[in-house]
Symmetry: C2
């Protein structure tokens, strides 16, 4: 029964009872109806962050339209989003430690808590029961009930002998276990197992993984956890299928070595791309995308690109890798063909491209152009723009498809 | 605004206009409300086929409950399901040529057409605009508008010089193109490109691919299309990233050769599993699962299992491969560890296991036990049952997650 049928039926019942909707009530009822949520699937919905104004737009990727704007989300610098298991709710992690639960169907703020002083994103557990936030201030990880946002557990990320607490980065969901994350100050990777008792996670610590892990990712199969290192060359890698092997250093030749360049913007590792058994990742400060074979964990290619890469993202089918850049090349996007390993397209979607998000099966990509106040949608087959949406200084774009994927 | 708030508001407006809901109308209105669809996300919904009675159940994988039963779907032998891009609608392909569009939110049959005399499943295009059905009688492929089920195109699958029409099998969505499928009688693979004009697909034909292709699949990245051959050993493989290379024969040593065994039930190739760069597939008639390296397309292992495998499915993280069997071993399921390549668990979920479906990120698996009239849900970490649902001779189980995945 759709909304219109439902209300018609109510009207009939009221009429049957001998009542008539008056001339005044009818238009009001119609207006209430127009404000009522539409019955719709959530598989083609998403969120666009309007960073400067603390708002998000709820968008539909089938119609390429904006459905609602939700405000009051605080400081959305560097905001990121995960989705509830049913795709109805977005959990928005703000830089100010705010964690906001947005209802995509009603276009309203369902709940908001301030869970830390300074936060840098989060993750949702494999079964959708727990949302975890990683914090800079006071550090550590806090875990919440996804339904209520009530606190479930706090992992302090203490290290050393004087009780310091580390900034936490690279938090990711680990299938069958819980969460895995890196400690920037401590140079450690921790795995928090929630399976026995979510309120008291069993933490396994891997020490001396390298200097200053600054971000991390888990491969799409949930097997390998990688933390990028800022304080030294290389990456720290943990095989979660064989954790007894401990953390290994990979790509020791990668990074800022050689002739370091000024780093205009740190790359985002969550954007690392897997395609055809290879991992594509942004070289810090260098105008290159690195290609790594995930069987040998050896670098197999370096692809020259227009600027310092920020996000390096595989189209869902893996045939193309899309790259955006730091200043002064941040109004361009380049496309790499994963078969030829060559740049095939250089696009200019608009001013200051901050993020990209592919539609569920990748026929289109949404690109936020902050200084043009618009989101541009490109057809990934023709590489031509399809449409654009107005948005107030848009930054991150996140679609509900993430709910069903590991590492998002 | 939720449903209750919405109706309260309408009641207030009616009262403001000087009307009162009478004692008769109020309970009727409450009942109408109870019958009205609940506002919910669709990311955790799915369909269970009740084959014998022509019904489907709408299920929720978060609460592990049945939400509705929808009847009138005709002959659901061998029925399969694809989902609309938004996750709201299930397209159910029946053996009798029926194509039914079920609304998961209202639990109703939205539309039903009989599009052929004998049909064997279908697919939905990457952008969600087109649903395609593959037919045995009269053969060929018919393409429909996903919103209306109005016909868009017919591909007759004619071959030879006398105008015969071939049975079509192994229909799959091909990213950026349209659909790819195999012609059982003709021994051909066809790629139908809908990008220029969906009403007049441009068809590329690959002839002499092998004898009697009986099913097919596309790898999760949409790159490789494989058709299993019944009339000879081996598989026909087309690299859709390099179609100019044509169809190659792979695994020529695989199949019914050696000492053929009686085949109790044909394996389903759509269930072929990719994990860690390897493809796991059922050996026809043999008590083995074959493991193929997708870089070399060479067989790298054979794993002995309890019976003739039917579905060989990777858990979404690829760590485990779950296998069910043909008669007389069809009340067991075995689990293969993809790291050790060994069978680690032999489970007995119930009588006559016909299908399995993993939850979106794989923390659980739903298993249909036809002759026990139940669906059993297993925890994939502990390998213990979590709960079960009553169902009338359940066969296929399909979750909305498929909408966002290539090849489902």
């Amino acid at each position: 029964m759709d909304r219109r049928t439902f209300v018609n039926r109510i009207s009939q019942r009221v009429a049957l009872a001998g009542l008539t909707l008056g001339a005044v009530a009818a238009p009001q009822m119609a207006q209430a109806l127009d404000n009522a949520p539409v019955l719709r699937g959530t598989g083609d919905l998403g969120i666009v962050i309007e960073r400067a104004v603390g708002k998000v737009q709820v968008v539909n990727t089938s119609t390429r339209t904006s459905l609602a704007t939700v405000s009051g989300l605080g400081d959305l610098s560097h905001a990121s989003v995960v989705f509830s298991r049913d795709g109805r709710f977005a959990y928005v992690f703000g830089r100010d430690g705010g964690l906001s639960k947005v209802d995509l169907l009603t276009g309203t703020l369902n709940k908001r808590i301030v869970q830390a002083g300074n936060s840098i994103g989060g993750a949702i557990s494999q079964d959708g029961r727990f949302v975890a936030a990683q914090n800079y201030q006071p550090g550590g990880v806090r875990i919440f009930d996804a339904a209520t946002l009530e606190p479930v557990a706090t992992i302090a990320a203490s290290y050393g002998t004087t009780g310091q607490t580390s900034k936490v980065v690279g938090l990711a969901d680990a299938p069958g276990v819980g969460f895995v994350f890196a400690l920037f100050d401590a140079g450690e990777i921790w795995v928090a197992d929630l399976s026995a008792n979510p309120a008291q996670p069993r933490v396994t610590r891997y020490a001396n993984v390298g200097k200053q892990p600054y971000d991390g990712l888990i491969t799409p199969d949930g097997r390998y956890y990688l933390a990028g290192l800022f304080g030294e060359d290389g990456l720290a890698m943990l095989d979660l299928w064989q954790p007894e092997r401990g953390v290994q250093k990979v790509l020791a030749g990668y990074g800022r070595g050689e002739e370091p360049l000024p780093v205009f913007k740190m790359p985002h590792l969550r954007g690392w791309a897997m395609a055809d058994g290879r991992l594509y990742l942004p070289a810090i400060g260098r105008h290159e995308v690195l290609v790594v074979d995930t069987r040998s964990w050896q670098e197999v290619a370096r692809i020259a690109v227009k600027g310092q890469p920020v996000f390096v993202m595989a189209r869902p089918d893996g045939r193309e890798i899309w790259v955006n850049f730091a200043h002064p090349d941040n109004s361009h996007v380049q496309v790499i063909d994963s078969l030829s390993q060559k740049v095939t397209h250089t696009l200019a979607p608009g001013k200051v491209v901050l993020h990209m998000e592919f539609t569920p099966r990748g026929e289109a990509v949404w690109i936020s152009c902050r200084d043009d106040n618009k989101v541009v949608v490109f057809d990934t087959r023709t590489h031509q723009p399809l449409s654009s949406l107005a948005a107030d200084a848009p930054s991150g774009i996140f679609f509900t498809t993430r709910a069903a994927r590991i590492g998002f």
